[in-house]
């Protein structure tokens, strides 16, 4: 089990590129794209969280946008009450402090995941896909019904969150913060993948019946992974609300959930690194093609089809070469 050199080199190279990106864009006079790049990193974090349940645990969630939305709404609602001056339930004040609001976003999305997971994990396969979708749609309409918080139009943030005196409104600072969070999350989940917990998840994906026969109470491990995934996705949502200074029901739409699924599959399910690449590739393609023509989806569709058919282990599978076994 010698550590493989090639994947490590590629990862190091990617990190260098990511670190050099903002000054590079600035030098090219394309500074506008730094904000876009931050959004890519945030979606990569969301796709990464989906891969935890889908790639490692074999739970295909078609409702992960719900957690993105919950995270964004926590930030949005906190900010709204700061601006409005009215108290939240239990007389709590609004807040824009990232150290309060972002963990809260994770707590609320984690609790949402606990509720959704506790019910939908009693099923599997297509039923699981349908139930997660149904829950996300419920939250979508629920958010649209929050008249106080803009209904279908959502909430506009007047300020980005405050984090230890950092100027998050500065695109570069915000970009590097997102990059840092993504790198930490990726490293932690790669570590988790090889841990006892990760082994159990992958065992469940391969053969859940066998796992039970071995003595594993599989349901609680799946639920724990689902909650953890929801929390990470909620953090992505909190960041996304900051990136676009906006939280709306559209974040919870099924199209958003679908986009996350595409990112994971495109990049390479179960590899954790892959979905990050998938997010970069998909969003860069969308952006690039939209510049070319307004009918960009006509090009994107077949392109994804070709990729899905030719690279069954996704972009990361293509890049890293040989398949790994543990």
């Amino acid at each position: 089990m010698a550590p493989e050199l090639r994947p490590r080199l590629i990862l190091a190279l990617l990190l260098v590129v990511a670190l050099a990106l903002p000054p590079l864009l600035g030098a090219l006079g394309q500074g506008f794209y730094v904000g876009f790049a931050a959004r890519v990193l945030i979606m990569a974090l969301a796709a990464l969280s989906l891969d935890l349940v889908m790639g490692l645990g074999g739970m295909v969630s078609f409702g992960h946008a719900a957690f993105l939305g919950v995270g964004a709404y926590v930030v949005g609602i906190g900010s709204w009450h700061v601006f409005d001056g009215s108290p939240l339930p239990f007389g709590l004040p609004g807040s824009e402090n990232a150290l309060i609001v972002w963990p809260l976003a994770m707590v609320f999305s984690g609790l949402t995941a606990l509720g959704i997971g506790a019910i939908s994990l009693r099923t599997s396969g297509v039923h699981f896909i349908m139930i997660t979708l149904a829950f996300a749609q419920m939250l979508f309409y629920l958010a649209g019904g929050l008249k106080t918080y803009g209904g279908d139009d959502g909430i506009t943030l007047y300020n980005r969150s405050e984090l230890l005196g950092l100027k998050l409104s500065d695109p570069q600072t915000f970009y590097y913060l997102c990059l840092g969070i993504l790198v930490v999350a990726l490293a932690a989940l790669l570590r988790l993948r090889a841990s006892r917990f990760g082994m159990v998840l992958r065992g469940v994906r391969d053969n859940e019946r066998r796992m039970r026969a071995l003595g594993f109470p599989t349901y609680r491990y799946k639920l724990a992974a689902f909650v953890l995934s929801g929390m990470v996705c909620g953090l992505a949502g909190a960041l996304l609300a900051n990136a676009s200074e906006f939280a709306s029901p559209a974040l919870m739409s099924w199209q958003k959930s679908g986009e996350l699924l595409v990112m994971v599959v495109l990049g390479g399910m179960g590899s954790l690194v892959g979905p990050v690449l998938g997010a970069v590739a998909l969003m860069a393609l969308e952006e690039g093609l939209a510049d070319l023509t307004q009918h960009w989806q006509v090009i994107l569709g077949p392109l994804l089809l070709v990729l899905a058919l030719s690279a069954r282990r996704g972009l990361w599978g293509l890049l890293r070469g040989r398949r790994d076994h543990d």
Partner: protein, 249 residues
């Protein structure tokens, strides 16, 4: 007379109008290799399914090692020391051979809410896993992907996984299914070496192997146990000869 390690009382399982398990009273003594034979469709797998906990009986009780396990989940029974292997090879194909057995060891070392330390770098897991692999003669394949194993080797891996948790009792569902003569011979040797050390309930079609290995044999026909006894007694049993061994007189 000590209490049998596993015994069932009046076990019944119906599928629609078909009685797959018909008031089965089975007793497996501690330390015995007990074989369960019967023609296809006799309900052997259904019975194993109820013993392991994957299927719930419609009536009757199952006692194992002093516990009434009738209502216990599969994973709870596994933790009590009841390990099973599957008729259709059921391994984790994307894992290495070692990782397959490591997972089986891990199941018996408390909870797995451990998120940081790499499991395969943990000798508390890989140590017992490697000795289980040695036991079945697969130690030299430990680092290979499980998908690269031959059919016979996969059956050996199945057994290593069942052994890895240091079980009190093994439920082996046709461990020799689909094996060639050489692999079959090796499996018989392996089972013979386990005899006496573990209590084993063996479902097997290979009659030579069964009569060679078993301390006790129970014969299942149409869901009911029609005879139970030593190999010699079973061989001499008229009912068994007629119903199962297919000798017309």
């Amino acid at each position: 007379m000590t209490e049998p390690l596993l015994h069932t009382k009046g076990l019944v399982k119906r599928f629609g109008g078909v009685v797959a398990t018909n008031h089965v009273d089975l007793q497996v003594e501690r330390g015995h290799l007990h074989a369960l034979i019967g023609p296809n469709g006799a309900g052997k797998s259904t019975l194993i399914g109820q013993l392991s906990g994957e299927m719930a009986p419609d009536a009757g009780r199952i006692h194992f090692d002093g516990h009434d396990v009738t209502g216990l989940h599969v994973h709870r029974r596994a933790r009590l020391g009841l390990a099973r292997s599957f008729q259709i090879t059921s391994i984790f194909k994307t894992f290495s051979v070692l990782a397959n057995v490591t997972l089986a060891v891990q199941a018996h070392q408390g909870h797995s809410f451990r998120f940081w330390r790499p499991a395969l770098g943990d000798t508390a897991l890989t140590g017992p896993a490697l000795s289980a692999l040695e036991r079945v003669g697969l130690a030299d394949r430990a680092r290979d992907p499980a998908s690269a194993l031959s059919h016979g080797e996969r059956r050996q891996l199945e057994l290593a996984m069942a052994l890895a948790g240091d079980p009190v009792m093994l439920l082996l569902d046709e461990p020799m299914a689909g094996m060639g003569p050489d692999d079959g011979l090796r499996m018989v040797e392996l089972l013979a070496s386990l005899k006496g050390e573990r209590t084993i309930l063996l479902v097997e079609h290979d009659m030579d192997a069964v009569f060679q290995l078993a301390d006790r044999i129970s014969v299942l026909v149409y869901g009911a146990v029609i005879a139970s006894g030593t190999p010699d007694a079973i061989r001499a049993d008229e009912q068994v000869r007629q119903a199962y061994l297919g000798e017309d007189r």
